[in-house]
Symmetry: C2
Subunit: 355 residues, 2 copies
């Protein structure tokens, strides 16, 4: 399936702004020549970089604005100072008004989420957005959500996350019925976290376009036990950051150890191809692109420190989402969830009130 995809890009986001965002877009266009772009931001910074990528330039439009959201701006501050004027806001507006298929920003997550909620609004029937991360696993990739949009959840919200994550897995991995697990702890005594249990019951008994696996634990994420791991944003964010930290820790140990002796230096040289493969597998750039789910429009958050390849990966995720009709898939799943009758609906209503 191929159609022209029009991409709205906040050129000013991230640690490096246009100098990385535009080369990333160029890589994407090379891979998918059916892409076109609108870059929002400072024309004086954008055009010199763009002019070094003639083919990209031919399919791009630049929309100038002086206002950029700072990487350390608080969401409320960003909204106050950048609403209707900043490159981030304008990039979202282009999606809201149907001029682009999705928006990409490497700007700060809190500001981007706040602006997305304000500009795009929630999808009908969904209470809370979620940020979905693409997580490298031993089986390939899994989706983990929510990794930090909000804290806490009712059972009904966890079910919505499962439906949204399932829709994303269908769009991204092409799976008919992705497997979904609820993140929980393994200590028998305390397994009964009420809202997670109720969400599990609903997912098991309801008729959703996914395969409910049951509870999973923290170490199941990296194993790739399920395609979609669902949790609320506090534990999801801690899991994500802890995994990033551990991967970095191991590679720091590795680098230090391999430089310690002449023999290990030589070994390192000979094995460097293999070691490169590993670091690529764990490279956050490779699986770059946090997807904001539940909004009335597709928004992709690229990592602030990502390089051009990382930006290309993030845009590519958005492209998959747009082409494979993520939004329609989510809407259909949510409709199913809301249409459930009998005991499952009672569970959802009861639990939502109880929480």
């Amino acid at each position: 399936m191929s159609r022209n995809v029009r991409i709205s890009v906040d050129a000013m986001g991230g640690d490096h702004g246009p100098t990385v965002v535009i080369p990333g877009a160029a890589m994407l266009r090379e891979r998918y020549p059916d892409s076109s772009f609108v870059f929002f931001g400072d024309r004086a910074q954008i055009e010199p970089v763009l002019s070094r990528h003639a083919e990209l330039k031919a399919v791009s439009e630049v929309a100038h604005t002086d206002v950029a959201v700072a990487m350390d701006a608080k969401p409320s501050q960003a909204l106050r100072q950048g609403r209707r004027t900043s490159s981030m806001w304008l990039a979202l507006e282009a999606v809201r008004d149907g001029r682009c298929d999705f928006a990409v920003s490497a700007g700060n997550t809190g500001a981007l989420m706040a602006m997305s909620k304000f500009c795009l609004k929630m999808m009908p029937g969904i209470e809370r957005p979620a940020i979905a991360a693409i997580w490298p696993t031993l089986r390939g990739e899994s989706i983990v959500l929510d990794v930090g949009a909000t804290i806490g959840a009712t059972p009904a919200q966890l079910v919505d996350f499962a439906v949204m994550g399932g829709a994303m897995a269908r769009a991204l991995f092409g799976l008919e019925r992705p497997t979904v697990g609820l993140l929980n702890v393994g200590v028998e005594e305390v397994k009964g976290l009420e809202y997670v249990r109720v969400a599990g019951k609903i997912l098991r008994e309801g008729d959703f376009p996914l395969d409910y696996h049951g509870f999973v634990e923290g170490d199941d994420i990296g194993k790739g036990t399920v395609d979609v791991v669902v949790t609320e944003g506090f534990s999801g964010n801690i899991a994500l950051k802890t995994a990033e930290g551990t991967a970095r820790q191991v590679s720091t140990y590795l680098r230090a150890a391999l430089k310690r002796s002449l023999l290990s230096r030589l070994g390192f040289l000979l094995a460097s191809g293999a070691l490169k493969t590993v670091s690529e597998k764990m490279n956050p750039n490779r699986a770059n692109g946090g997807v904001f789910l539940g909004l009335d429009g597709i928004v992709i958050k690229s990592h602030g420190g990502a390089d051009a390849e990382g930006v290309a990966a993030a845009i590519s995720v958005g492209r998959d989402m747009a082409i494979n009709e993520l939004q329609a898939k989510i809407a259909a799943g949510i409709e199913l969830a809301r249409a459930m009758d009998g005991s499952v609906a009672d569970d959802m209503a009861g639990a939502a009130v109880a929480t």
Copy 2:
């Protein structure tokens, strides 16, 4: 400082029982000849192994029981079937009655915690136990708690965890004022998790024998940003399991990559010493020994799959705790917390009610 330490061992716990537990004890005794042991369990299984370790045998006593708690027993089931009779219970009873300085079991965590609460009871003034993990970091080791004793916490309980973790860091690392951080998420918008914020305020304003650092995120754990990371048991357990999973994932990638070509195999051979160092650093055996805090007696949980070296590491942690008077340190800290007056005490009381 040296004194005879008498160690109560559940010889039947773990995946391998006496065949690993006893060699582990022998390793410990070699390192610390001032240790003596009571092994609880099946004499017919214990004595053949013990007789292969003459020096250990000379300082050991075997207390026979037929009853062992199964590794997959539910806590309630373990209590019903093993109370007053199982090797796990008897090992705890020896601590309760003052016959031993601390207990070690590699049995299942839920059962061990349930029995510990039942047999030893909580320390006066403490509402909830916590399981503290010793976490390898880039700076050395840190303590993370709670990694799964209970779910959720009030601000006052988080403060208790901070005090208990601080006492453990003083006993284990010999630090006068260990740094303590509260685990939180970095997204500005949602940073306001109320009970964590209130706990932070109490720790900042109160006069505790620790250095309150502020909030930390998941990736700060592996960096070793603070000596003690405090969180409630759900997110703590997920962080721990996620880190274990990620470390395993990286080493799986590494092994696979290094076997792929002749050159990388050769490199692997030359660098194998260095790679061994790394896998030792990340080896859960090395930092083995979850410490149950808040009980009226010292209990160490050794990993069920630990080898003899892992068991020795767990016993060694218990030995440090006993010699450095963990319990007295916790009691003093808790007393300080309870004696606080004015606004901090109001915060604690108010917040505890509100949660």
